[in-house]
């Protein structure tokens, strides 16, 4: 096992989680929990791949993927922000809808043949840094580099800009924002849309860059759910979200690779001799997600982690207090 290769692949596969996690951070910071990430990612992956097949232009695929997933997210925004329905139920429904839609529309797409992918390249100079160079800056996809840019931008935007301040206010105390003339509804629609676009970008990153192709619901294989869990793990902070995404990306890769060699370091590799143990390993990220979601649904834990105070609550104007 080559550790550099595993880490390099981990960063690549973590980029998918990163986009989805950043998107969900934006939505949740505005007070809207969107459990439809998985569905939006599938729509993104499917539409990116199919547009790239049709037009031969992967960038067109990325653009359409973001718009399609963003559009899908607006159903959730309408149901939860305007109709003020339960965010959990609506989000789950959105995942079902997105999954179903992508399966129907993506019928036959897995046999569509080869397609132009997003480019991969090395960064001069930076790739020569020992250890970091090969892991982060050598032969990575353009999307991976986009992830490096997006993370600090998201962090700075949320913490140090006026619109970011408004975003935080709307998620923490929408009534206070409303009395100061901030349009709570419009902002929530907007950030749910941003979340959808980033989930679409995550989907496109899978099907056009990291593991190209359309393999129906196995394309995302539950990564949308891992992203939802990572948001809690990241305490709604983009930088922590990025760290978590890359760690999980590396773990996913490690779980695949660990079953290969006959010996692990100097032990006999138990995963090689008992292939069924591998299923247990593959389950771990999802088990983690379930545990984080269960813990994160507890009010006391959420407060301690610093969840946006109005997360999950519809805003109804004129109600006293919050």
């Amino acid at each position: 096992m080559d550790w550099i290769v595993i880490l390099q692949a981990g960063v690549a596969s973590g980029t998918v989680l990163l986009f989805a996690t950043l998107g969900e951070i934006f939505a949740e910071r505005s007070g809207v929990l969107n459990l439809g990430v998985e569905g939006m990612m599938l729509i993104g992956a499917m539409s990116a791949f199919s547009v790239a097949v049709k037009t031969g232009d992967p960038w067109m695929g990325v653009l359409v993927a973001m718009l399609a997933a963003g559009l899908l997210s607006q159903i959730h925004a309408f149901i939860t922000v305007t109709l003020q329905a339960d965010q959990v139920v609506s989000g789950l429904a959105l995942t079902f809808l997105g999954t179903g839609l992508s399966l129907v529309l993506g019928e036959g797409l897995s046999k569509a043949g080869t397609v132009a992918l997003l480019p991969a390249f090395s960064i001069p100079l930076l790739s020569r840094i020992p250890l970091l160079g090969p892991v982060f800056f050598t032969d990575q996809n353009v999307m991976v580099y986009l992830g490096y840019l997006l993370t600090p931008m998201a962090w700075y935007y949320i913490n140090y800009t006026r619109p970011g301040m408004h975003l935080r206010a709307v998620g923490e105390h929408p009534a206070a924002a409303d009395t100061l003339g901030i349009n709570v509804y419009r902002l929530r629609y907007f950030y749910v849309f941003v979340g959808g676009m980033l989930a679409g970008l995550a989907g496109a990153t899978i099907s056009l860059a990291i593991s190209p192709g359309w393999f129906s619901e196995l394309t995302t294989a539950g990564q949308g759910w891992i992203a939802v869990g990572l948001v809690i793990f990241a305490q709604w902070d983009p930088v922590r979200g990025a760290i978590g995404s890359y760690v999980f990306g590396a773990l996913r890769r490690l779980i695949l690779d660990i079953q290969g060699p006959q010996t692990l370091l100097w032990f006999a590799n138990p995963f090689y001799y008992n292939p069924y143990w591998g299923f247990f390993l593959q389950m771990l990220p999802y088990a983690f997600t379930v545990i984080v979601l269960v813990l994160g649904s507890r009010e006391a834990v959420r407060k301690r982690l610093g969840a946006p105070a109005a997360l999950g609550l519809p805003y109804i104007r004129g109600e006293r207090g919050l």
Binding site: T161, R162, A169, E172, H173, A176, D178, G181
Partner: protein
């Protein structure tokens, strides 16, 4: 519209509201209300809960739109579609429930919703600007502090600053003293005076008579949505006059409290420690006693452990250390019913969700502590006829005004609902009664009724612990008063010394106060 003529004897009018009508489904909240405000005055808006004060001011601050009537600001007819319009016209409201984002800094809260800064925050520049403004009006607060780190009084200053920063000329203060300790109230009054000296005008909403007499230049009184006194100068008005205007009848101020010797110790709280919902320490070694036939008050600013203490005594929260004894029997770490059977009566703070089951009938609500026993219980079934009979009796005895006892509790007014709860708790003849904010949100008439019932229980020999944020109520009902601050008892007062209570409420232990006097 024509410009309303200025009276040469008065400073110019900044706000004039004419014939404001606001209807809510089933309620006429404002019935042709007129209101005027001069430049540089403090104008009190007085009325009971539900009299229409807040509605009127929500109309003026742009949150609601009036169904009829006109608003003039500096003589110009205006129409506010949102709070933003009102602020632009120089009218800012300081809400009773602070509209501040706890996780953001003072500066961020003040800048929210403004167009300047455009994109990047440049916080240092604005920290300085806000500190200067705070200095000008004597509103001391650190612009870099996060809201959750501030005391309630400081948070209120941030609210005021928020409006001043937006160039507000008129400040609407909605019950600004409800959350403050006595010393903080004095500080607020000084701030308000300094603002009127600098040309600001203030509307002071309140239902507390002594504050209105202390601070206001003029007063407008609302009762059931109508004006009963329009902009009368405070000079020459007594508290009694104001109370009559508010309620529409004479109100007795001093309740009759017979002197009586307290009996045996009924409730004993020993070194109680407990955590709040966030897992932080809420009680840190509380000890107190309540004897039979006395009312013991617990004073303190909200959120200093009162709720947790009540919950531990009521059996709803487990302490981390210490115990509660009732007539010598430990009730901590026991089921709630164990305490009930020993004679604990509990009037919770939240009467709609904890104190009653809103969708159940009055009958169901009054038998909640009796349905296991004869005569309501018959074998394993509930004798509904006996229950109804009991409910009818209690309805008569406690003056509960409902069409029938089958009416769901949620349809009752606050005062009536509180009487249902009192009927349930008191008709059990409790040895110990825990009353948590029993009169909060009730109108003056209903408050009087509840207080009378508590005094009657005292005479009947019950031990009563009264938790309240209304100092006046504590002083008039209690035989002794403990003061709680950050989960610790700061001391005990027997002579009703309001200054000592105030100092303890803000964290000075009694020994220090008395030590200081002797030195």
């Amino acid at each position: 519209m024509t410009h309303p003529p200025d009276n040469p004897e008065h400073p110019p009018l900044v706000v004039e509201m004419r014939g404001i009508v606001k209807r809510f489904p089933g309620v006429l909240a404002n019935d042709h209300v007129d209101f005027s405000l001069y430049k540089g005055e403090i104008h009190a808006l007085l009325g009971e809960n539900g009299a229409g004060k807040s509605t009127l001011m929500n109309v003026l601050s742009g949150l609601y739109r009036a169904d009829e009537g006109q608003i003039f600001v500096n003589g110009q007819l205006v129409e506010f579609r949102s709070p933003r319009d009102a602020i632009r016209a120089g009218i800012g409201m300081v809400h009773q429930h602070f509209m501040l984002v706890p996780s953001q800094t003072v500066t961020e809260n003040i800048l929210l919703g403004l167009d300047d800064p455009r994109f990047l925050l440049h916080l240092n520049h604005y920290h300085r600007k806000i500190a200067e403004l705070a200095e000008q009006f004597g509103l001391h607060v650190d612009p870099r502090a996060k809201i959750w780190q501030l005391s309630v009084g400081e948070q209120q200053r941030v609210e005021i600053l928020k409006m001043l920063y937006r160039g507000a000329q008129v400040l609407i203060m909605d019950e600004p003293t409800a959350v403050l300790a006595p010393q903080e109230i004095e500080g607020l009054f000084e701030t308000l005076r300094s603002m009127t000296e600098q040309g600001k005008s203030i509307i002071f909403i309140s239902h507390k008579l002594q504050e209105v007499t202390a601070i206001a230049d003029r007063v407008t009184v609302l009762s059931k949505g109508r004006v009963t006194a329009a902009g009368q100068p405070m000079a020459g008005l007594t508290r009694r006059d104001l109370a009559r205007l508010m309620v529409g009848r004479e109100v007795v101020f001093s309740l009759e409290k017979k002197p009586q010797e307290p009996g045996e110790v009924v409730l004993e709280v020993e070194d109680l420690h407990a955590e709040n919902d966030k897992g932080l320490p809420a009680l840190q070694g509380v000890s107190l006693t309540v004897r039979a036939g006395e009312i013991v008050g617990l004073a303190g600013v909200a959120g200093n452990g009162q709720r947790e203490l009540a919950q531990v005594i009521g059996g709803l929260r487990k302490p981390t250390k210490g115990r509660v004894l009732l007539n010598g029997v430990e009730v901590t770490r026991k089921p709630v019913r164990f305490g009930i059977d020993l004679g604990v009566g509990y009037i919770p703070e939240d009467r709609t969700h904890v104190g009653s089951a809103p969708n159940l009938s009055v009958t169901d609500n009054v038998i909640m502590k009796k349905y296991r026993k004869e005569p309501i219980a018959r074998g394993w079934s509930v004798d509904m006829q006996a229950a109804t009979r009991l409910a009818e009796e209690l309805k008569e005895a406690y003056d509960i005004i409902v069409p029938t006892v089958e009416t769901p509790a949620r349809l009752l007014s606050g005062g009536n609902l509180q009487r249902v709860i009192l009927a349930r708790e008191i008709s059990n003849n409790p040895a110990f009664l825990l009353a948590m904010q029993p009169t909060r949100g009730l109108d003056v008439g209903a408050i009087e009724g509840v207080q009378r019932l508590l005094l009657a229980q005292r005479e009947a020999g019950a031990a009563i612990l009264l938790v309240s944020e209304e100092l006046e109520e504590l002083l008039s009902l209690s035989d002794r008063i403990y003061v709680i601050y950050e989960g610790r008892i700061m001391g005990e007062v027997r002579d009703g010394d309001i200054e000592k209570i105030g100092l303890m409420m803000t964290g000075t232990p009694l020994e220090e106060i008395e030590g200081g006097e002797n030195a």
